[in-house]
Point group: C2
Chain length 438, copies 2
Amino acid sequence: MTILPDGGLRLAELEEQSLQPGTKGLPITQPLRQHMVGLQRWNVLAADTGFPVAVLKISSLLHNLDWMRAFCARHDAVLAPHGKTTMSPQLFGAQLANGAWGMTLATAPQVLAAARFGVRRVLLANELVAPADIRALLALLRDDPGFELFVLADSADGVRRLSEAAVAAGIGRPLQLLVELGIAGKRTGCRTPEDALALARIVAAASGLQLAGIEGYEGLLVSDDRGADIERVDAFLVRMADLARQCDAEGLFVGPRILLSAGGSSYFDLVARAFHAVDGLSRPVLPVLRSGCYLTSDHGHYLELTAELDARDNIAEGLRPALEVWSIVLSRPEPGLAILSMGKRDASHDLGLPVALRAHRPGEGPVTLPAGACIDKMNDQHAYLRLPEEGDMRVGDLRVGDLVGCGISHPCTTFDKWSVLLLVDDDYNVQRAINTLF
Amino acid sequence: MTILPDGGLRLAELEEQSLQPGTKGLPITQPLRQHMVGLQRWNVLAADTGFPVAVLKISSLLHNLDWMRAFCARHDAVLAPHGKTTMSPQLFGAQLANGAWGMTLATAPQVLAAARFGVRRVLLANELVAPADIRALLALLRDDPGFELFVLADSADGVRRLSEAAVAAGIGRPLQLLVELGIAGKRTGCRTPEDALALARIVAAASGLQLAGIEGYEGLLVSDDRGADIERVDAFLVRMADLARQCDAEGLFVGPRILLSAGGSSYFDLVARAFHAVDGLSRPVLPVLRSGCYLTSDHGHYLELTAELDARDNIAEGLRPALEVWSIVLSRPEPGLAILSMGKRDASHDLGLPVALRAHRPGEGPVTLPAGACIDKMNDQHAYLRLPEEGDMRVGDLRVGDLVGCGISHPCTTFDKWSVLLLVDDDYNVQRAINTLF
């Protein structure tokens, strides 16, 4: 994978750093420089690594990078992928080198970490309120005139804080804000277009600030009733566009273009289509999508949602799951139960438990998992893999020491459980290590 | 807090390392050496830090260290606190300096990390199966004759792996095993005392291994029916003691004493009493308790369970919650809702959501939280604090920028979300930073 040029120096520093014994998944007893990982000829299926180990399939990552580039080109949108998902500087680099317009992030520490590794344009898709966080990001803007930042606002109190701080910091340019339109009963954001318009006027009039666009997050509308979701998302996007038109009619926007940003990892096709249709404004509209989970997809929540997206958008081949957590069978205490060396500390459990994909016996080969084999519980460090019985015979001859590869549901809450993940080829040969910065 | 002498050098290295901008909670824009943290005069209530920030109250930690030392002395038990809870070398140091016999850990990487920071005696309360993990721990034993390790076994397959590896590694002494007695329908461990006895015979006969004791984990029996729990726990502990007697009668134990180990963070009083009553064996019994959560306690699951323990054991003053996560109000989008800058990435959500304790307006003082204010949902980076209304008036004048201090339920899944936590005095002055090694 290509790394981003601006981040080259710092990424090289990561390659020079010594990985320490005790790093999850690494079979090392002495410190090992990170760039040496690819030379060790570790193979996951040969049980060369420790278990659990988190792996990313390079072929799937490359496919997904291409897929999203083509999607954005087709829809005339740009991508600021949500970096909170992976918080991996190497993956940020791969995304930016493959056409991303910038990175989206959720918190000030995430912005600082990304900036350290060469990211130059950030959409902070969140309110920025804590004084220390505001100071830190303004210092970043002051010290690096080429660094570009967009921040959300949904309250007059918040805008006043930012205005006062921006003026005091003397950053030499206005801080760019997007007014956030919200949804009744949901998270942040002005609850009505009227409130949002009033706030946009406050931003436009405030010292040290500039209204750069409108933001919303349709992902909060995902429910089990997908038909209803789509109607609600479309209606929300219409409200966003109308708000942008009103702000534009009042001359509140400054700058060469108007940002319109939405787009989680479930309904970004609807966002792209809706924003593409917005025209007749005084200056060009830049639709900024923000999906974070497209890069790795998953074997659960997002795979299902993007399969529906593929169907809506007539996409022949969808995103491919890239992230797996492999563990080892620690115990077969009962016929229908295998205990795996992977727990809540290793894999997400908030939007579905891990999905057992395949089993492998090192030195022998694949082991058949019975149909219906299913993880139904995790403790901090263990998973309970239930093996259904068939008639009198137990199906699935899974033994202590066998490896089990699991897909996950929700990449965000899996990445944050690993400081190092391993990139593997399709035969599970380890090619290199990447870092996360949580 | 005292640090452990053997780990002094490495802990000093941590103090010398530079904390980087982008570390959650730290209000820094330039790298800062860790030992300088205490000199910055940061105060959490003054909003000097970033938010969210995870803090540990020093007075509560010291109280809990003393509490547990007195508890173990009273019950003639030793403590190998479960280090997986915090994975903090500084807290390991404090535990060992305050009377802990050793540390308990859950995985090979955890053992390697603890050993790097001077821990010299480890009970690995888990099966050890992966070849790389086995190799790494045997290398540790070979290279450091003073390092002591106990490992669990619950299957003949597992014992064979360990025996072959121990013989091959030539560690110059037998690997010490505890046979794990399990519970039907639960996690690891032999399902019947007969199976466990048969396995103990296999261990005793195996090359390179030594049977050092019996292990079980009564914590798997915690349910909502506490009366039934206690009966089941007591019965399980009787089975463990009977198994130890049988193994002893057959001369299977080797070494100066017989380890009996159980004791999560809920029912360790029952364990201590049951093991204290075991007598008449050929050599002394050493009861090893393993609570991990006593050190910080919490404001939820464990606080409730240890309050019941206090009542059973006639303890006047219980453990004190030491761990809090403070966040800031990002948005007040609706009268009954405040959105906090703290999410599933920052606080545990698996055994109950965070508990809003108090609010504070920097520069002004405490803000009254309405009775019943309650976090009922978290996203990755946000919490939803519901504020009940009272009659026509909204109670709780919480504004954007106010700070909210939350207790948590389940320390294990909060610690693993922070690479650095801040130790504070009772006025929330930051005294120093500690690290975790997840």
